[in-house]
């Protein structure tokens, strides 16, 4: 048998007392694509970071081409021809593609004046589409990813590690990436791909290695396994792989958006003439490649972003121009999970309890309990006690400068219990929780107020299978309760299974609203890329409910 390209023996890594990786053995053959599969926190990224020199293993040995290799820095990794494409792109925004690619010592020692041609040559060899002179801040996500991959190739990597490369791509872009990966494999490169998506594992990999809770479970040939078997290896138990879509009785439109125009931070139109509505008791999915106005839409509805034109109506009343607090008071709640997971909605260094209070501290009042008035007490004492109780009730109504930590702690306790959040205590800073638990805290707080419109963006971003299903369950429960849910998602398979309807955005334009049961992934992909425009094809205004609650005359342009 040929010498393996990379071999790990007994690798362990500890963060404090927690073992991120324990005694892991892994082999990568030359010219193969190995998929590394595992839930969140199973230590995939930690393991790969040790191969690429970001972390140094506490125990164990790494062999490259049969030789023992000490990889204590990224430079060492490059010396052994190992290159990693990180999940969060490591690019300099204000540099051009070529500048990013030639960055750093080593490479081919090229002069800066020749860098554009060098980059073009590599791109041609493997079939990348790349403009060397384009600045990174002007690029789409998939272009940035291309730059990352060309960067490691330029530096002469023979072993490529791709950390969740498909998380941000459309199905078509993913297919393009896979064909580039096959071209690299044909060129003799060895590739490790980390992913959550089982069907992609089946489509691209030769072998699959599974990690669970920092331990190596096993390695199987892709040809001899299936999605169900892989899931069981990953989770360690049988898992039902289908997402429930309970039927709930739908209501009149709760939230209606008409002709909405919103600008992005850069001043361009992020949302253009968008109309849609959400009924109570339904989940409306929003599909679109990253940065297509999803964030701006959320912010506009929540009152965080100025509405340029058009209207947002909640139960027939316009909410444009209201403050975020007033909008929240009407029962519209938003939870947005950005790429770094902490950004909007939670304060990382504050405790779970404090984060619960963020939303309702202003409503906290003095909480003076009335004293029981005993029947046998003397009339004077009764009168005195009744006076005290009335005084207490009066004080309870006054605005209170203090926060009610006891009540907030009880809320935190309830959310922790209901959503199965793993945390040492209610007083632990949110920053210390794992990604999935952070997301549950955010979502838990938002549903605590029993909103009637729940806007949630990427609620399962980066979550493992078990946590994701729990979140789907929470959303379904809200839907059955009669709330309208706007679900902005990434994974089309999930949206097809979970949502009732799916709205597709392309650069802020409505491409169409389709019933999840009647559409296909391919159709959605085409719409996301802007190649299929149902809104135009049918020639009628989409996204306007027949039984609109917007009063006649209030929006005469529409009723005309």
């Amino acid at each position: 048998m040929a010498q393996p390209a990379l071999e790990l023996k007994g690798i362990s890594k500890y963060f404090g007392s927690v073992a991120a990786n324990r005694n892991i053995d892994l082999t990568l053959q030359k010219g193969e694509i190995l998929a590394l599969l595992g839930e969140n926190g199973s230590g995939k990224t930690t393991l790969m970071n040790m191969i690429s020199g970001i972390y140094y293993p506490d125990e164990g040995k790494i062999y490259v081409d049969g030789q023992e290799a000490v990889i204590s820095s990224p430079q060492d990794a490059f010396r052994h021809h190992i290159g990693m494409v990180h999940q969060h792109f490591k690019l300099i925004d204000i540099f051009t593609a070529a500048q990013n690619i030639v960055l750093g010592p080593g490479g081919k020692g090229a002069r800066l004046s020749r860098m554009n041609d060098d980059v073009r040559a590599i791109a041609q060899k493997y079939g990348f589409a790349i403009d060397p002179k384009k600045k990174v801040y002007d690029m789409s996500v998939s272009e940035k990813q291309t730059v990352e991959i060309v960067k490691v190739l330029y530096r002469g990597a023979d072993i490529l590690i791709l950390d969740e490369p498909t998380a941000v791509l459309t199905p078509q872009e993913t297919e393009k990436l896979f064909s580039v990966m096959r071209a690299m494999k044909a060129d003799g490169k060895s590739i490790i791909i980390i992913t959550h998506k089982l069907h992609e594992v089946m489509a691209i990999s030769d072998r699959v290695a599974v990690l669970r809770k920092g331990e190596y479970i096993g390695c199987v040939d892709t040809a001899s396994t299936n999605e169900q078997a892989l899931t069981e290896m990953m989770v360690g138990q049988k898992v039902e792989l289908s997402i429930a879509r309970p039927k709930a009785s739908t209501d009149r439109p709760l939230l209606e958006i008409r002709d909405l125009v919103v600008r992005s931070d850069e001043g361009s139109r992020a949302i253009e003439d968008l109309s849609f509505f959400i009924r109570g008791g339904e989940i409306l999915g929003v599909a679109g490649i990253a940065g297509c106005g999803q964030r701006e839409l959320c912010e506009a509805i929540a009152g965080l972003r100025k509405v340029e034109q058009g209207g947002i109506y909640h139960e027939g009343e316009s909410i444009v121009g209201l403050t975020p607090k007033q909008i929240a008071a009407r029962g519209i709640s938003m939870s947005f999970i950005p790429e770094d997971r902490l950004g909007m909605g939670l304060a990382p260094s504050m405790s779970v309890t404090d984060n619960m209070m963020l939303k309702n501290y202003a409503e906290h009042r003095f909480d003076i309990a009335p004293v029981p008035v005993a029947e046998e007490a003397s009339p004077a004492k009764k009168r005195w006690l009744r006076f005290c109780n009335r005084l207490g009730a009066f004080i309870n109504k006054l605005p209170c400068p203090f926060v009610n930590r006891r009540a907030a702690r009880a809320e935190a306790q309830r959310v922790i219990g209901e959503l199965d959040i793993v945390t040492p205590s209610t007083e632990t800073p949110v920053r210390r929780l794992s990604g999935g638990n952070v997301q549950k805290v955010l979502l838990g707080r938002e549903i605590l107020t029993e909103p009637n419109v729940l806007i949630t963006a990427y609620p399962v971003r980066g979550l493992d299978i078990n946590s994701s299903y729990l979140i789907y369950d929470i959303l379904n429960r809200q839907k059955e309760r009669g709330a309208g849910v706007l679900f902005i998602g990434e994974d089309l398979d999930v949206m097809l299974a979970l949502c009732d309807k799916i709205m597709v955005l392309c650069h802020g334009r409505l491409m169409g609203v389709v019933h999840a049961e009647k559409t296909t992934k391919e159709e959605l992909g085409l719409m996301m890329a802007g190649a299929l425009d149902l809104a135009e094809e049918k020639g009628k205004p989409m996204g306007v409910a027949k039984d609109s609650q917007i009063a006649e005359g209030e929006d005469s342009a529409w009723n005309a």
Partner: protein, 325 residues
């Protein structure tokens, strides 16, 4: 009028030294507020260097005197820069607080050092002799060239050194791989680290180098502009120049090439107060405010325009720790 512009240039280069030094430091992601103190220490070191080489004054070699001044100024400033770098790069102290501490130390040290160590018997004469004859020696015969000669060719060596350093810094930042790597470190050290750039090395190198260059500014003020006349409040004046140099970094949008022009503009604004006739003594401080006001205007304009290329290095002021999660 010719002499006014000549003076503006010879004063402006003091800003230029401080500004280019600070640009190099900031490009590595470090906001060095210690620049005023470092410039002071550069003046102190420079005076010492000149004293060592120029005593006794008869028979002193002009070239060696200037060289010794430059080396000592860079050495003293570089040492203080290295202290700042050790505190902020290795120990990851807060950059603002560390920088202010360095300034307070540098100003105090300079006042003490010049009065008690440098200024011994006869040094004052030697310094002004060296200042007039060596630091301000210019090419003979430029009077024949009229205003051009007066404005551009009547300066001492330090003025041309400043411009050469600014041009060199611009070329390095723009056209060399080292410059690209340096900018990457200042923009996003994690990215730079991941491609194998020695982040700590770059931060140290350019913080110390930046400080050494800034230190020349102090030397330039004392020996060049003041011709070796060391006033009692020299530390205060240089400190003021140092703050303006940091403002100039913003004014020139972190670009050394712009800073050549910017420093002359600041030089004009700074010496304007002494040239305008008919203003009262009380109004002079108001005129001295002008550079700051201009800087604030530039800040407002760039922040409104919000173009990505005119923003400060993205990780300016932030410490970098590789295993930070």
């Amino acid at each position: 009028m010719d002499t006014f512009f000549a003076n503006a240039i010879s004063f402006g280069v003091i800003f230029l030294f401080g500004c280019v030094g600070e640009i190099l430091t900031e490009r590595s992601g470090h906001l060095n507020l210690g620049i005023p103190g470092i410039m002071c220490v550069g003046a102190a070191g420079g005076c010492l260097g000149v004293k060592l080489a120029a005593m006794p004054t008869d028979g002193a070699n002009g070239f060696l005197v200037v060289l010794s001044g430059i080396l000592f100024a860079m050495l003293f400033a570089g040492i203080l820069g290295a202290v700042y770098a050790f505190l902020t790069v290795s120990l990851r102290c807060n950059q603002n607080v560390t920088g202010l501490a360095v300034t307070i130390f540098g100003v105090g040290f300079t006042s003490f050092f010049i009065n008690n160590v440098v200024m011994t018997e006869g040094v004052s004469t030697a310094l002004s002799f060296a200042g007039q004859n060596f630091f301000n020696a210019h090419i003979p015969g430029i009077e024949a060239l009229g205003w051009f000669g007066t404005v551009f060719l009547s300066h001492g060596a330090l003025v041309y050194l400043a411009i050469a350093i600014a041009v060199a810094a611009a070329v390095v930042l723009r056209y060399t791989k080292a410059g690209l790597n340096l900018r990457a470190v200042g923009e996003n050290p994690a990215t730079a680290d991941a491609v194998g750039i020695n982040v700590t090395g770059y931060k140290y190198t350019f913080t110390v180098l930046g400080a050494a260059i800034a230190g020349l500014g102090g030397l330039c003020y004392v020996m060049g502009y003041m011709s070796g006349i060391v006033g009692s409040n020299v530390d205060q004046t240089i400190q003021g120049i140092g703050w303006l140099s940091i403002a100039l970094v913003i004014f020139t949008l972190w670009k050394p090439a712009f800073s050549i022009l910017g420093s002359i503009v600041f030089g004009i604004l700074y010496i304007l107060s002494s040239r305008i006739t008919g203003i009262s003594f009380e109004q002079i401080p108001l005129l001295n405010l002008v550079p700051y006001v201009v800087t604030i205007l530039v800040l407002i304009v760039t922040s409104i325009v919000g173009h990505r290329e005119t923003q400060p290095p993205a990780s300016l002021g932030l410490s970098y720790f590789r295993e930070d999660r």
